[in-house]
């Protein structure tokens, strides 16, 4: 500034210089005053202390986790603050998760808070368990056996945040450990998830995703009763509902349309309706492939009544031509299978159908 002023001296008059200097002094004074006010404010609200605490929270290590676990074990109780600190620690690395999981009796304190009388504490505890479930298979197994029954119970509750956190935790467990998945399925998880998936509520997408994970990772553990439940309640899900893109995948992977399960007209109608909605909308290829597979299986059941409008050869050929026009090799394989099953029904002259088909060479 002085250099500038010197430069300016050469071109400005002494009166202007005085004016400029007084202005600069004024600015400096205002700045000092502002800084002083800020410092006073920081002291008053304990900003330094808060900043230190924030820095400590952002770098929680295994020692901190072990200390917190020891404290909650001693007290046989965890406050909301303890639960939040633990949740934050679990987000900061798998070492923290493993350190907590190996302490005997530590998860039991979380389960105790999960089952206490206060809903807010339930939410804090389940969020803590959700972050704990980010760990490896052995951690998931522990959570499933100690807290699984309560999380499955809370799926029927009223509080939406609690339900969603339970669903997220269950999703993490299902994707991580096969044994834990089997434990959860023994707790009648599938019918509960299907009910949440089909009834209008805020958790339809999360429940659908859990079912998708069940169909992907734990298909072999799904019982005949669970499959029967889904088959009976298929029609409760609507194509316009959230997460309907998982519908056909779940139905196919869990073999809902198979030889051993009987399907009612209402349920079959729902499947055809879903398929038609999938074909008409611009959804991803995965939905279409599984939709075609489900339809191929529905046709393979050999009952034209189950096909509804699709039993009309004209409608069937129109839908097939629309799908063949996509020129997707993977989809075409399933479409040919669907066509083969349809021709087996002998609903009309096969040659007429074959002549009206437009399959790209």
């Amino acid at each position: 500034i002085l250099f500038k002023l010197k430069q300016m001296d050469s071109v400005t008059t002494p009166v202007e210089n005085i004016l400029l200097r007084s202005k600069i002094r004024g600015y400096a004074r205002d700045q000092r005053l502002e800084c002083r006010i800020k410092a006073k404010d920081a002291l008053r609200i304990g900003l330094g202390q808060v900043k230190e605490e924030m820095a400590a929270l952002e770098s929680l290590g295994t020692k901190d986790v072990t200390g917190m676990a020891g404290r909650i074990k001693r007290r046989k109780h965890a406050t909301s603050e303890d639960l939040c600190r633990l949740s934050l620690a679990f987000l900061q690395g798998s070492d923290n998760i493993n350190a907590f999981a190996i302490i005997p009796g530590a998860i039991q304190v979380l389960v105790k808070e999960l089952t206490g009388p206060h809903i807010q504490r339930h939410i804090d505890a389940v969020e803590c368990l959700c972050n704990l479930s980010l760990g490896e298979a052995h951690v998931s197994e522990k959570i499933a056996s100690l807290a699984g029954s309560y999380m499955v119970t809370y799926l029927d509750g009223k509080e939406e945040r609690l339900k969603r956190s339970c669903l997220w935790t269950l999703a993490n467990i299902l994707a991580t450990c096969d044994k834990a998945g089997r434990i959860l399925l023994q707790m009648q998880l599938v019918p509960k998830l299907w009910r949440l998936y089909s009834e209008p509520n805020g958790c339809q997408a999360d429940a659908g995703f859990c079912l998708y994970l069940v169909a992907t990772h734990c298909r072999q553990h799904v019982s005949a009763d669970d499959r029967r439940y889904i088959a009976q309640n298929l029609h409760q899900k609507k194509p316009e509902d959230p997460a309907s893109e998982y519908f056909m995948y779940i139905v196919h992977q869990l073999e809902i349309v198979g030889q051993d399960l009987k399907l009612g007209t209402k349920q079959a109608e729902c499947l055809v309706h879903f398929f038609e909605a999938t074909v008409s909308s611009s959804v991803d290829n995965l939905c279409l492939i599984y939709g075609v597979r489900v339809m191929a299986n529905l046709v393979a059941k050999g009952d034209p009544k189950l096909l509804g409008g699709l039993a009309e050869p004209q409608n069937f050929v129109k839908t097939l031509n629309h799908l063949f026009a996509k020129r997707d090799s993977q989809l075409n394989l399933d479409l040919v299978r669907l066509l083969r099953n349809f021709l087996h029904l002998n609903l009309s002259d096969s040659n007429v159908i074959l002549d009206s088909l437009q399959i790209y060479a």
Partner: protein, 217 residues
């Protein structure tokens, strides 16, 4: 010309028939190849805001326990689901249910899981079922069965108890009523002597019947 061009683009009937003959018929199983690649799954964690820990905890919106859970009108017990409340009411407050259990001709205790339709003769059998079949913990918090440990403890305390004056049976059967009110009369409960009164009248009816029978004899 155009129809010829279109004809060459699409497969002929013979070609389709040939493809169909090579394709297996019947159900497509989930294990049948080729299975399309699925989108990868990323685990979900709950993001904790540091404000929740460092900030003013009192300001945080607390959820009402009463609104978000199911409470019993009789004993005010809070339960997380409608099914558990249903079980609680029938098993703890329904005399018809108690009488049916005493009769013991059919299983009355429903499973803790709403989807499981199995019923049991005793709470113990239900507990065993839940532990073995549904992998529930042995100390399931929402167990509605009577506390066996407490029941066992009762006679033990009787044998070890000090010798005290016998309390008359009438006063023993009276319900507990708060005798102090700190200057404010509060009527929080129903007048519970009414039931006893009705019992008395029933006894009178019975004695009346006996008397009538005596006269007739």
């Amino acid at each position: 010309m155009d129809s010829d061009a279109v004809g060459s683009v699409f497969l002929s009937r013979e070609q389709i028939t040939k493809i169909l003959s090579e394709t297996p018929a019947g159900f497509i199983k989930p294990t049948d190849p080729p299975s399309p690649s699925l989108p990868p799954f990323k685990k979900l964690g709950v993001l904790v805001e540091i404000d929740d820990i460092v900030g003013d905890q009192e300001k945080a919106v607390k959820i009402s326990d009463k609104e978000q859970s199911y409470s019993c009108a009789e004993c005010r017990r809070m339960l997380p689901t409608a099914h558990l409340l249903d079980l609680h009411i029938t098993e703890q407050h329904d005399f018809y249910f108690a009488a049916s259990v005493d009769r013991g001709d059919k299983p009355m205790f429903a499973c803790f899981l709403e989807e499981c339709t199995t019923k049991f003769h005793t709470p113990r059998q239900r507990k065993d079922h839940c532990i073995i079949v549904h992998k529930f913990p042995a100390n399931y918090r929402f167990d509605q069965g009577r506390d066996k440990a407490k029941e066992k403890r009762k006679p033990k305390s009787k044998t070890n108890s000090m010798e005290v004056d016998e309390v008359p049976a009438e006063t023993r059967s009276l319900p507990y009523i708060k005798a102090f009110s700190f200057g404010h009369q509060t009527h929080r409960t129903f007048y519970s002597r009414k039931a006893q009164k009705s019992g008395e009248t029933l006894d009178d009816v019975q004695s009346m019947k006996d008397a009538i029978n005596d006269i007739l004899d």
